[in-house]
Subunit: 108 residues, 2 copies
């Protein structure tokens, strides 16, 4: 068994958003994304893979398609396959996200 205390895995860097992998299989990856104020994951899209974002702490401006919304702790959202998506930390504090992607683009 491989239980992980998620927030103990957080890593932040002044350089850029940090991604910390928790689990990876052919079917999915599960990461924490850690964004300091001002950091972002630029809008992009994946063909054939869906992504879920869950906000642990902080606040992010999430873009899915043409829409953008600021979401905080306890919110979850889906970025479907082929739809442009990204997130920016527009707040003044750290942003920590759970991110699950299926299937795993690194293993397709």
């Amino acid at each position: 068994m491989n239980p992980v205390e998620v927030l103990s895995k957080k890593i932040f860097s002044q350089d850029k958003m940090q991604k910390v992998n928790l689990f990876e299989t052919e079917n999915l990856f599960c990461d924490i994304y850690c964004l300091l104020p001002g950091q972002s994951q630029k809008p992009h899209r994946h063909h054939g893979a869906d992504k879920i974002y869950y906000v642990f702490e902080g606040q992010g401006a999430f873009q899915i398609g043409e829409e953008e919304r600021v979401l905080g702790p306890g919110m979850i959202l889906l970025a479907p396959s082929d739809v442009e998506h990204g997130v920016r930390n527009t707040s003044g504090k750290a942003l920590s996200l759970l991110v699950v992607m299926a299937p795993n683009p690194n293993k397709i």
Copy 2:
């Protein structure tokens, strides 16, 4: 965009564990599982699909393969394809879990 305040979707029933779907695609489903004290998801396995459990609140005894561990809020774990897994609420309070499965067995 489809953001959801996860814990606002909780439903408990004296009958049995409740599963509330948040998102569903061919690649994944994302549910909340809601277990009152004494309720469980019996050990079972899925061929070709991996499951992630994340504990929002409460405490559960998770079985993955032959091992069982009691885990609380903030813990995440992977039940890999073909490995027997289940969860029991052995505590005295409600247990709420985020569950992601990939691919979606309902759509294979």
